[in-house]
Symmetry: C2
Amino acid sequence: MRIALDAMGGDRGPEELVSGALLAVRDTDVEVALVGDETVLRSVLRGKGVAEGPRLAVVHASQIVEMSENAVDAIRKKKDSSVLVACDLVARGETAAVVSAGHSGATLAAAMRKLGRLEGVSRPGLASFFPTLKKPVVLMDIGGNVDCRPHHLLQFAIMAAAFSSIHQRENPRIGLLTIGEEAGKGNALIRETYPLLAKSSLNFIGNIEGRDIFQGDVDVVVCDGFVGNVCLKISEGLAEAAMRMIGDEIRESLWTKLGYLLVKPAFRAFKKRVDYSEYGGAPILGIDGVGLVCHGKSDAVAIKNAILVANKMVTGGVNERIRREISGVPVSETDDE
Amino acid sequence: MRIALDAMGGDRGPEELVSGALLAVRDTDVEVALVGDETVLRSVLRGKGVAEGPRLAVVHASQIVEMSENAVDAIRKKKDSSVLVACDLVARGETAAVVSAGHSGATLAAAMRKLGRLEGVSRPGLASFFPTLKKPVVLMDIGGNVDCRPHHLLQFAIMAAAFSSIHQRENPRIGLLTIGEEAGKGNALIRETYPLLAKSSLNFIGNIEGRDIFQGDVDVVVCDGFVGNVCLKISEGLAEAAMRMIGDEIRESLWTKLGYLLVKPAFRAFKKRVDYSEYGGAPILGIDGVGLVCHGKSDAVAIKNAILVANKMVTGGVNERIRREISGVPVSETDDE
């Protein structure tokens, strides 16, 4: 099993990304193709005292998509960018999956261009783990698709359910994110999606409110990409703000400062529990291949975890599951866009 | 200034609500009309050793809207429910505003039925304060309107800006909640709303992402009622879950337990900072009168604060501001629904 890593993307630079690949190669039997500027990558490997070899190879790509670029333009113009070359390795069957912590829009665009959609999928999307009081849930879509129709949400449910199978969740419980528990509650999209989910063969448990997500009583939460992305960003922002507010209060007195030294391990454990990097990136679901988008801030551990998730998605046959399930739900011609 | 309080609504019952009214009457010069079952309310007053009088009067209403009821049905059938009678007091000019911690949907429906829309307003909605690292921001809409058109969002911005004036915010900064900073980012609704806000006379500062809300660099955040309500519920759920997760970790060892005793004041200060009850309920904006919906869990302090906010909305002429601003933005016939 070989996985392509876009070794130039991400806020922390190639050093950190290569460290992540090293961790993955050391801890498991995956092989990693480091894609990017070969001079830079070989110098990083030398600096770490690691020899290039079949388990950790360098594949040259001369260009980088910058975070400030327009995703679609960049992918059209930069034919030799690390993310496009990495996706191309998957398209040509040289690697089984691609992982990138670079420009997420560009990664999505590159994956779509090189790999295309899985048969029967109307719109590929991004899924993400979301921490809860019990096990993390899978939330989909979180950004790709801002204006959705009911059958798109049905397909997100099918794809996210297939993905959640890599965590030994068979027959995962599916919830539809809305603002009331009864079937009639929500906006037009939600009201029309509800009956589609209800009559599907999925284990649909009904509507779920934002507040209930954290109880961890569902495995998959379905929403459109606008709502999903807002939820994710609100949660990130709130968690950061809460930590800063509590920090401000703690610095108010010597006693609270002293107390903080003692509770610090609890805070650290909490942070680890909600840390995105533990979950190994966001899978692009619905493409004809395996791809993962990592947070720009990803450290070596996050990259390693993403490589392991990619590995599990391939060995677990997530795409075969998606293809099988989607083919059971015919989509009308007019709806298929 | 007299304000009607639905003294039967809310999870904590009439005792707590009457206590809130008492606090308001003691601390300020407002008068409160307690609306509900007169036998119950007089017995509560007696229990507290308080005499009924012009500053704290009881107005009888024989029915209660239960939390489990359908809002519209309940308002149609229960003509003598406390929330309808309270709204009727405003309609007849006997009180200047209404406050209820009961069924929020029923409160909205009752206010709409008895008070109607303000001239020029397409859709009344609910606004709410949202805690940030700086001052709280006003978020609108948070639940009334799930399927919106661009001019509805423009009107929400105008109404929320007028409301924020009661907190001495002149020319408040308005942000449009979406999933990217540039003008073209978001779903169709957001992309079409952006130019309306940009050409309005409002102090529109552009798109804002969920994560940035907590920085407190805007005064008003505009979104549709579906997204707003999901944001509010996600935030509530996350804050509760975070507290429980940290609590779990703290109970892991004796040292962290000891440390917790020392940092407790910091946690308490944090909780107070993010506590909805400090902000005094969610104003119904766009109706021809002043109404506030409180959280069902509201305690006496929350009720007192809501009464004070209602008072400020009346004295600050929020509705006159809304009427003036809305009349400057003509809405096309076809759009006006």
